[in-house]
Structure formats: structure tokens, C-alpha cells
């Protein structure tokens, strides 16, 4: 029983790591309607940006997260404006493929400047807390708290601010939005900034647990997708629930299946859920 409970707990903490980039991915999908593969590179860039300010200027975790958010967001906007924006007219699939190419470019730009060497933050690692035979990672709880706060903030931003409402309006119908005086181009820039920035924040959180190298984002890309799809593409709370579900599924599957198949668990979970609910947990109606 405690083994199962511990696995559930592990799943929540594992899922929290994936939740933030999944929010970024799904936010971009919600407004721009294409799956952006470049979020892998944005996560890597965020991790490197945070590493830079942490190691060279002694920045703590919070300022490092802010820097990661800002830099990944800016690079995301720059890349989107130069490379992907012009492809939107050709349809979502074309932009998606363009974003795969963009991801290759950005990953290798990181490699060009930083090399392949492993890096790590100059931050102490906190041992797990133990109570009642269970162990909980304070840093993972922190990540979970970040994920929940970010989810709430993004959710509130979309629901209650003028700009957020504009984003939702553009997501629903960009022509209508334009008629109402909302400029879809501005909304798109804001969305990418938010999405890429969140991916960057996610990259930092992953970098705390793993090593920082140019493949950091790529290694988790599939899990991030799986989380977003499971939750319903375009749904912010869905991304968080999807990430937690994947996390829990992966950790619990370990009790019955070999650990070497961990990545396959997410895939199996997607197939299972989508067979019952083709739009994921919180997916919208088909457009």
C-alpha cells in the first residue's frame, strides 16, 4: 500500500516537471492552432539562460526563472517572427513542420556557442523529507507549486485581462476578433512570448533534476506532447492534469512493467484516453 502511495506521490512530482512546458505548448496551440515542436529548444534555451545568470552572477532560483522566462520568450518571438509567421498561411501542418526545422536550428545554435558539455546550476540540492514512510522532494513540491501558480496565472490572464480575452477571441475566430479591433498579430506575439517563456521556465525546472545540455528539451518533448494531448490540446488546466496523469501513469506502471519502457507508458496512456475521449480530458469541440 505504501509502495503504491509512494508511486502516486512520485507521479505527481514527476508530472509537475512536465506541466509547465506543457502549459506553454498548449497555450501556443490554443491561439495559433499548430503544435510547436520548437518548445524543446525553448526549454533548452531557458535552462542555459538560467545557468548563465546563476553561475556568472550568482542569481538564485527565482531571478534565474525570470531571466529564463524572458530570454526564452524573446528568442521565441524572434524565431517565430523570422521563421514561422510567414508559414501560417499554408496551414497548421506546414507551420508544425517548420517548427521541427526551427527546433533543429535552435538546438544547434546552443551547441555552437556552448558545446555539448554537461552543465549544472550552482544551487544546493535539498534531500527529501520523510514522513510516515513516504518521501517527498521539497524541490519537486516547489516545481509543483510553480506549475499550479503558473497555471492559475495563465488561466486568470486569459479569462480576466483585456489582452487575455483578446487571445481567446483570436483563438476562436481571428476575423471576428479583427472586426472588434483586436490585432491578431499582436496577440500572436504575446502568445508566443508566453508559450516559449513557459517552456523556458520548464527547462530550468528540468535542469535542476537533470543535466543541462543541448538535448535537454528534446529528451522531454514527447512527454510534453503526450501531456498536452491527454489533457486536450489548447486547454490550460488540461495540460496540468495531463502532465500529472502521465507522471502518475509512468511511476505506477513501474510497479508492473519494466522501467525501460517508461516512455511507452505516456504513449499507451494517450491511446487509451483518446479512444474514450477523442479530444482528451478538457479538449474543445472540433473546429
Amino acid at each position: 500500500m505504501s509502495i503504491l502511495l509512494q508511486a502516486l506521490l512520485n507521479g505527481v512530482m514527476n508530472g509537475a516537471l512536465i506541466a509547465v512546458p506543457a502549459i506553454g505548448f498548449t497555450a501556443i496551440f490554443a491561439v495559433l492552432r499548430y503544435p510547436n515542436f520548437a518548445i524543446a529548444a525553448y526549454a533548452t534555451i531557458g535552462a542555459f539562460a538560467a545557468w548563465w545568470v546563476n553561475v556568472h552572477f550568482g542569481a538564485g532560483i527565482l531571478p534565474a526563472l525570470l531571466v529564463a522566462f524572458a530570454i526564452a520568450g524573446c528568442i521565441g518571438v524572434g524565431a517565430e517572427e523570422t521563421a514561422l509567421k510567414q508559414l501560417r498561411g499554408a496551414g497548421a501542418l506546414t507551420v508544425a513542420i517548420g517548427s521541427i526545422a526551427l527546433n533543429t536550428v535552435l538546438e544547434n545554435v546552443v551547441r555552437l556557442f556552448f558545446g555539448n558539455d554537461l552543465r549544472g546550476y550552482d544551487l544546493p540540492l535539498v534531500p527529501d523529507w520523510r514522513f510516515m514512510g513516504l518521501r517527498v522532494g521539497p524541490q519537486q513540491l516547489q516545481s509543483l507549486a510553480f506549475a499550479v501558480v503558473i497555471m492559475a496565472a495563465v488561466f486568470a490572464f486569459l479569462r480576466y485581462t483585456r489582452f487575455g480575452k483578446a487571445m481567446r477571441a483570436v483563438a476562436d475566430n481571428s476575423d471576428l476578433a479583427r472586426l472588434k479591433g483586436i490585432e491578431p498579430a499582436h496577440v500572436a506575439v504575446m502568445t508566443i512570448f508566453l508559450g516559449a517563456g513557459l517552456a523556458g521556465v520548464g527547462g530550468v525546472l528540468i535542469g535542476l533534476d537533470a543535466s543541462i545540455d543541448p538535448l535537454l528539451g528534446f529528451r522531454v518533448l514527447l512527454t510534453v506532447f503526450a501531456a498536452a494531448v491527454l489533457g486536450g490540446l489548447g486547454s490550460i488546466p488540461g495540460a496540468v492534469v495531463g502532465a500529472l496523469a502521465i507522471g502518475i501513469a509512468e511511476e505506477c506502471a513501474l510497479l508492473v512493467a519494466p522501467a525501460s519502457y517508461r516512455s511507452a507508458v505516456g504513449f499507451a496512456a494517450i491511446l487509451l484516453v483518446l479512444t474514450v475521449r477523442p479530444r482528451g480530458f478538457f479538449g474543445e469541440r472540433a473546429n
Binding site: L84, I97, G115, S263, G266, F267, I270
Partner: protein
């Protein structure tokens, strides 16, 4: 140098088959298979295992086609109710699962060691040079045949129905066509071609391993189809050869920029591939050989 050209053309042929496979569903029916490399792997392993069990090579290739087609059927039927962007992500996951199975099921696939010593047809009789030439001729012939068949298909009423689905599947559904049926068939045929490409590759290299089947190849093939022309079989074939020559030519660039360290140069090579794909999508979205829409015959 000649040997290198022969080799590059043979690999170009294998890529061309993959490009034809992708073009059939992407250009034909508007679905995207981001797990192309998974079907390539299935074909390669199927043929390696069948011939390894003592069956003749042609049997292995047939097996690869069947395994590819069945996998294609399963994937489309399992995802039939999903929107197309979900399908793209599911196929991406599927390729990773196939790689994991190849990696972990040692009893079947020999795990990360891979399967080496796969039969190279007629190699002992022809010698190395002869074999390479023979294999180039054979791969090229297969590409030619598959291309001719797909071109025929492309221009037939069936092909027009597929493209109508690509443009507006609801409308085609209203018109009484079985949209799902078309999708399933196209996907299965496409997967079968990718499987055949895998089998040809396996017997050319005499070796397959899980490491062969990383997502990189899928990206190359997308570049090939986008560069060649989505929706036209000849475009995919041309694009595949262009991509192989582009990949190989970039190796000779360090002579031009000698100040880069090897690792930096390797990064630049990959950047070039990515930039090329983006530029093609942006400035020549119709590709080198734009799609031809054959007008429906007047009846």
C-alpha cells in the same frame, strides 16, 4: 569517388521511397506521419528477422511490406476518431515505442546490439563493387516502379478523391465517399512503402539497430518532400536525391571555414538543414516540381 556516388545514389533511392511514402499521405490525403521512421524500422527488422530465419530475401521484402501495411492499418483504425493533429503526435509516439521495443526485446531483436550479418543478396557472387552497382540498379528500379504506380494513382479518380479529402474532408463525406476508408487505405499503402524502404536498407547495410531509427530521418524526408513538391510523386523522388546530395555536400564545407572546431562545424551542418527546410517552406512552398492538378475528364 565513383563508389561514393554509387552509395549516395543508393541511399537517395531509399530516401526516395520514404519520400514517396510520405507524399502519398501528406500530399495525397493531407495526413501527417511524424513516425515515418518507425515504419521504416518495422520493415527493416521484419526482413532481417525473416531472412535470418532462413527465408529467401524476396520473402523478407514481402514480409516487410505486409508488416508495414498492417501497422499502418492498426494506427489509422486506432486513431480514426481523432483530429488530424492528434494523429501526427500519436505517430510520433508510435515511432518511439517501436524503437523501445527493438531496444528492449533482446530475444527478438538482439537489443541494442542490433542484428548484423543480414543477407546481402548476391554479394558473394558479385563482389563488393558489383554488389553496390547491382543494389543501386535494383533500388532505383523499385523507386521507378513505385513512382509509376503512385503517379498512376495520383491521376486516377481515386487520386482525385484523395486530394478532395485533403482539401475538405467533410464535403467529400457529404458527397457520399467513405472518407475513413480512403484514409485507412492510403495510410496502409504508405506504411507498406516505408516498410519496403526499410527492408531494402537493411539488406544493403547488412545491419540494423535501434540507433538507426532516430527521428532525424523523418526530418530529412519531410525536407525532401517539401523541397520536391508536396502532392506530386516525382517531386518527392527528386527532393529525396536533392536532400542526400545536400547532406553530403555540406561535408565539404569545412575547407571553406577552417576556423571552426569539429563540433561547431557539426552544429553548423545541422543548422543548415533546418534553415534549408524553413526557406523552402517559405519561398517555394510548392516545391521544385509543383503539384499538377489533372482536370477531371468531361463525361
Amino acid at each position: 569517388m565513383l563508389a561514393y556516388l554509387i552509395f549516395a545514389l543508393t541511399i537517395g533511392g531509399v530516401y526516395a521511397l520514404l519520400a514517396l511514402s510520405l507524399n502519398l499521405i501528406w500530399g495525397g490525403i493531407g495526413l501527417v506521419n511524424l513516425g515515418l521512421v518507425g515504419f521504416f524500422a518495422l520493415g527493416a527488422y521484419a526482413s532481417a528477422l525473416l531472412t535470418g530465419a532462413g527465408l529467401p530475401v524476396l520473402f523478407g521484402w514481402g514480409g516487410a511490406i505486409v508488416v508495414g501495411a498492417v501497422a499502418g492499418l492498426v494506427v489509422t483504425l486506432a486513431t480514426a476518431r481523432l483530429r488530424d493533429d492528434y494523429l501526427a503526435i500519436v505517430t510520433l509516439g508510435l515511432a518511439e515505442v517501436i524503437r523501445l521495443v527493438a531496444l528492449n526485446e533482446r530475444w527478438l531483436t538482439n537489443g541494442s546490439d542490433g542484428i548484423s550479418g543480414i543477407q546481402a543478396p548476391l554479394k558473394s557472387a558479385l563482389g563488393n563493387q558489383g554488389f553496390n552497382l547491382f543494389y543501386l540498379a535494383m533500388v532505383s528500379a523499385v523507386v521507378l516502379v513505385v513512382w509509376l504506380v503512385l503517379r498512376r494513382l495520383d491521376r486516377s479518380p481515386y487520386g482525385r478523391a484523395m486530394k478532395a479529402i485533403r482539401e475538405d474532408q467533410e464535403l467529400v463525406g457529404f458527397a457520399g465517399k467513405n472518407v475513413l476508408g480512403f484514409k485507412v487505405q492510403a495510410f496502409a499503402v504508405s506504411a507498406a512503402i516505408a516498410g519496403l524502404a526499410g527492408a531494402l536498407y537493411a539488406h544493403f547495410q547488412s545491419y540494423v539497430s535501434p540507433d538507426h531509427f532516430q527521428p532525424l530521418i523523418t526530418i530529412y524526408i519531410f525536407l525532401a518532400v517539401a523541397a520536391g513538391g508536396v502532392g506530386r510523386p516525382a517531386g518527392g523522388v527528386l527532393g529525396a536525391y536533392v536532400v542526400v546530395f545536400f547532406l553530403e555536400l555540406t561535408r565539404f564545407l569545412p575547407d571553406l571555414v577552417p576556423s571552426l572546431a569539429p563540433a561547431q562545424f557539426a552544429a553548423c551542418r545541422e543548422i543548415l538543414v533546418g534553415v534549408a527546410l524553413i526557406l523552402v517552406l517559405r519561398f517555394r512552398p510548392q516545391g521544385l516540381l509543383p503539384e499538377q492538378i489533372v482536370p477531371a475528364p468531361k463525361s
